[in-house]
Amino acid sequence: MTDVAWIGAALTAARPQAVAALLRYFRNLDVAEEAFQEACLRALKSWPVNGPPRDPAAWCIFVGRNSALDEMRRRNKHDSLPEDDVIPDSEASESAMVDRLDSSAYQDDVLRLLFICCQPELPATQQIAVALRIVSGLSVAEIASAFLVSEAAMAQRITRAKRVMTQSAVAFETPGPVERAERLNTVAAMIYLLFNEGYSASGGEAHVRVPLCEEAIRLGRLLLRLFPSETEIMGLTALMLLQHARAAARLDENNNIVLLDDQDRSKWDHALIAEGLVLVEKAQRQGIPGTYQLQAALAAVHARAARPQETNWSQIDQIYAVLEALQPSPVITLNRAVAVSKVRGAAAALEMLEPLAGPLGGYFHYFGVKGALLKELGRTDAAREAFNKAISLARTAAEAAHIRMNLDKLNS
């Protein structure tokens, strides 16, 4: 009944907890990774014969720790070589291990492991790459192909990143509530960057790199299992689920981005949407707004509309108002203006755009929105001017094409 695919999935799932616990024990990332690797090799030998352990993570920690200790003793020549049968495989020792490693112990271990990948001196892409290697256990080749670089270049990046990580001081004591919250924030930002790396268009070419998005969602769910009351982790996971639900509808056959309004909503993944909506509702119950939660709430309003015309724009306006208060930014005000135009009309929205002319003077979407509002108000010449400006600022062919379509409508 035990096949290799099952063992692979079990080891992938056990990896974050196991490496994190081994790191706490040995306080050395290389030793922890090697110990886990050794446990994996022994699992491949032992599990097909003895059957799956009840708790693969606890098994890997136990076996990995013993094998690393043996290796140290061997090097120190203080002790004779231990035999393979020293490895405990009995249910008794395993369940004792499980008792000591309940979720509260894993919680800070896994958070610490993710947190040390977020070294501030490393560029974001390197933080993500090293997290994929250490926490997710992706191979260097898999990470390289996800980032569209050569394997050698990625190997070099990861080695460099790991050097920075091992040199930095890591607090191994149990963090206090403030420090824990800070770590969670940092780690959440890294996971969302990982998600966006898979989701966004880069270099003018649109890609949806599904494995990166799915890995980010897996990490989000993992964190949420460990921190079940954290509303921002609920929000983050919901946001990723709701955005990823649209993946199949986001690109047309020529790999151009399809805007939300034009997407075929039957292609949305309704299972992911349902899960995302529950998480948004769960987060909102606590009445503590946060940026991920609010962004997820916005995605939820769109997800609930079966057709674009059914979108509840006044709800979107209200959510943006809260987001604006929490995190003032001209881009958020611009987005809110779009919602306002649907609720209170183009003139009210255009008024909101005026103070944004300075900060958003080089921003494609500002002129796209401005052009659309002016067009709606019948101010054709001013609209044409805004659209032309938008085209000059477009970053992708799809963005420019979308504005050109608007210009054509204006001229006809």
């Binding site: 695919a5 099952w6 999935a9 079990a10 992938t12 799932a13 056990a14 708790d55 693969p56 979720s103 897996r218 769910r221 993992l222 949420l224 299992r225 079940p228 009351s229 609920m234 996971t237 299972a271 349902a274 899960e275 529950v278 998480l279 509702e281 769960k282 119950r285």
Partner: protein, 120 residues
């Protein structure tokens, strides 16, 4: 006699399954379910959403509503309800009405539901 068969596994592991692995497992289960349905022996079946969507209502002087699944090992699973709810809040309200003086109820949405055929 009606029997309830409850599925337990490591969620983190299922979330690491490949699509092929998941399809193989589901195909095997669907084949069994199909043959039971043909014999008129299959009642409702469902796949629960991940535990991250769960909440727990625990008996107390005022029922306590907690984030996360039922996580104790001291108490035993004794029964279940399947209720059509407008929202999570609605489901929690039902659970508050159901909760006794002791014990707890886990509230978790269904990801998939098949009404089944046959049971009378």
């Amino acid at each position: 006699m009606f029997y309830c068969i409850l599925c337990y596994n490591l969620e983190s592991e299922l979330q690491a399954w490949s699509r092929e692995k998941e399809a193989t497992v589901m195909a095997k289960r669907e084949a069994v379910a199909h043959s039971l349905a043909c014999q008129g022996r299959l009642g409702p079946t469902g796949k629960l959403m991940p535990t991250t969507t769960a909440m727990t209502v625990r008996a107390s002087r005022e029922p306590l509503v907690l984030d996360g699944p039922f996580a104790e090992t001291r108490e035993q699973l004794l029964g279940f309800y399947l209720v059509d709810c407008q929202s999570l809040e609605d489901a929690l309200e039902v659970a508050r009405r159901l909760v006794g003086e002791t014990g707890a109820l886990e509230v978790r949405p269904l990801a998939q539901f098949y009404p089944g055929i046959g049971l009378q």
